[in-house]
């Protein structure tokens, strides 16, 4: 039994191997892009809107609303990053019902890669918002003694992010494998259904936590300033 899809080598060419993680990641990417392109190629700006467009609009608006709820000032700024995290993880997990498919998120490499992206995105967004000095000063709050703890918190939460997703998805796969060997009928179906639910929830949790980290890094500043930015920016068009 393969624990990680990384070990499942699909092809090998001149010392470069293509494992299942990367392949299924491409598949997920292809599905996401193809569906998006197919729908957005025929966008309607009038009153009559196709149901597929409505679906995409609902997804995008929901993500934006969620970002705004968490407290980030301009949802449009974070939408591509947070939205892609959510969509990628969700689609990766939901495709688990397809036989022969293994979720890329069941690979620790993928979750680590995503967690590293979040780790980098947090200071990038914070610096672009507050400048390098403003961001670095955040590590000294409430005083300089807290610097090591702040650094540890930054790293540990990244690791937690990666391991949480990996653990949940991988455990789902492992539990399904064990149950099939113990009770081959009926019960694995329920576990698959549960797996869909947990996969979706994990996507949500990952995206929300990423947003929370970014927002908290941006908010580490004088209170009055923070309150000004808390107001939702309705006119943000998401550039």
């Amino acid at each position: 039994m393969r624990i990680s899809p990384d070990e499942w080598i699909i092809a090998q060419w001149q010392g470069i191997s293509l494992n299942a993680t990367v392949l299924f990641t491409w598949a997920v990417m292809a599905i996401l892009v193809a569906v998006s392109w197919a729908i957005t190629a025929r966008l309607s700006e009038g009153e009559k809107v196709s149901r597929w467009q409505v679906m995409l609009e609902v997804i995008v608006t929901s993500i934006r609303d969620q970002i705004a709820e968490i407290g980030a000032g301009r949802p449009g700024r974070y939408l591509p990053f947070i939205g892609t995290l959510f969509l990628f993880i969700a689609v990766s997990n939901l495709l688990m019902i397809v036989p022969g498919y293994t979720a890329p998120t069941a690979s620790l490499s993928t979750t680590v890669a995503l967690a590293l992206c979040v780790l980098v995105a947090v200071p990038v967004f914070a610096v672009s918002e507050r400048g390098v000095g403003g961001y670095l000063r955040g590590y000294l709050r409430p005083n300089a003694v807290m610097l090591p703890f702040n650094i540890i918190a930054e790293l540990s939460r990244t690791i937690a992010l990666a391991v949480r997703l990996y653990g949940n998805v991988m455990s789902g796969t492992v539990i399904a494998g064990i149950l099939i060997s113990v009770a081959p009928f009926f019960f694995p179906v329920l576990m698959q259904l549960l797996g869909l639910l947990t996969g979706f929830i994990q996507a949500y949790i990952f995206a929300v936590l990423a947003m929370v980290y970014i927002a908290s890094a941006e908010r580490a500043r004088p209170l009055g300033e923070a309150q000004d930015d808390d107001a939702p920016h309705d006119n943000d068009k998401g550039d």
């Binding site: 494992n19 700006e45 609009e57 995008v60 449009g76 591509p80 939205g83 490499s109 995503l114 992206c117």
Partner: protein
């Protein structure tokens, strides 16, 4: 823990590419489309608001116009009522005047009728008095009275002037002497003598009784007539009374 760092790097690249692709094909177009739709809806809402405001202002104008119309209608109605009242008053006055005129005319006519009736009554009374007198005279008439009447006719002949006597003499006819009563023979002889003496000897006389002569006698010779009658007095009296009544009525009418 199996972390394949090459896969990690590949996944990071994959993720960043996916971010770019989704931004290119999903978030960008969708948010732009929604923004444009919102703009359009806002525009239409604004247009609707403008139209509504316009409609409301038009409605207000129409309301004002209607109120003005109602005011003018009320004024016109008041004016018409006043005119109607004036007209009614005028018509009433005219009717009253007309009634007064009619009443005056009626009264006048009534007065005239009354006057006429009184007049007729008086005349009737006069005639009645005369008739009574005639009846009385007729009742009293006897031979003696007939003689007296013959005497009065003879006196009348005596009183004729010369021209009248000559005219009578020129008529070569029988002299007819009529009387209301049968004349006595001596009266007849006397009259015949008087005719012969005063008019002509050759004239024959003929005596007749005429009922229309009440108390009197008449001599007819050709176209000429000489008469004495109590009726003449009575007629004279009647003429005098009627003249007096006419005179009085003329004064009343004036």
């Amino acid at each position: 823990m199996q972390i394949d760092w090459i896969t990690v790097a590949a996944q990071i690249v994959n993720f960043l590419v996916l971010v770019w692709l989704l931004q290119r094909f999903l978030y960008g177009p969708i948010t732009r489309a929604m923004a444009r739709r919102e703009t359009r809806i806002e525009t239409r809402l604004r247009e609707a608001r403008d139209s509504r405001a316009e409609a409301e202002s038009e409605a207000a104008e129409l309301r004002e116009a209607r109120e003005a119309l109602e005011r003018s209608r009320d004024e016109t109605l008041d004016k018409a009522r006043e005119e109607a009242a004036a007209l009614r008053a005028r018509l009433e006055d005219e009717a009253r005047e007309a009634v007064a005129e009619k009443r005056a005319a009626w009264r006048e006519r009534l007065d005239a009728e009354q006057a006429e009736f009184e007049d007729r009554l008086r005349r009737q009374m006069t005639r009645q008095v005369l008739e009574t007198t005639r009846k009385t005279l007729r009742a009293l008439a006897d031979a003696d009275l007939a003689g007296q009447v013959a005497e009065r006719l003879a006196d009348s002949l005596e009183d004729l002037d010369e021209d009248a006597r000559n005219d009578l003499a020129g008529a070569d006819e029988v002299a007819v002497i009529e009387s209301g009563l049968e004349l006595p023979a001596e009266s007849k002889a006397r009259l015949t003598r008087a005719v012969h003496r005063l008019i002509s000897d050759g004239i024959d006389t003929e005596y007749r009784v005429s009922e229309d002569l009440l108390l009197g006698a008449r001599l007819r010779l050709g176209t000429h007539t000489v008469e004495w009658s109590a009726d003449l007095y009575l007629e004279g009296l009647q003429a005098a009374v009627e003249a007096a009544l006419d005179d009085r009525r003329g004064r009343t009418a004036a």
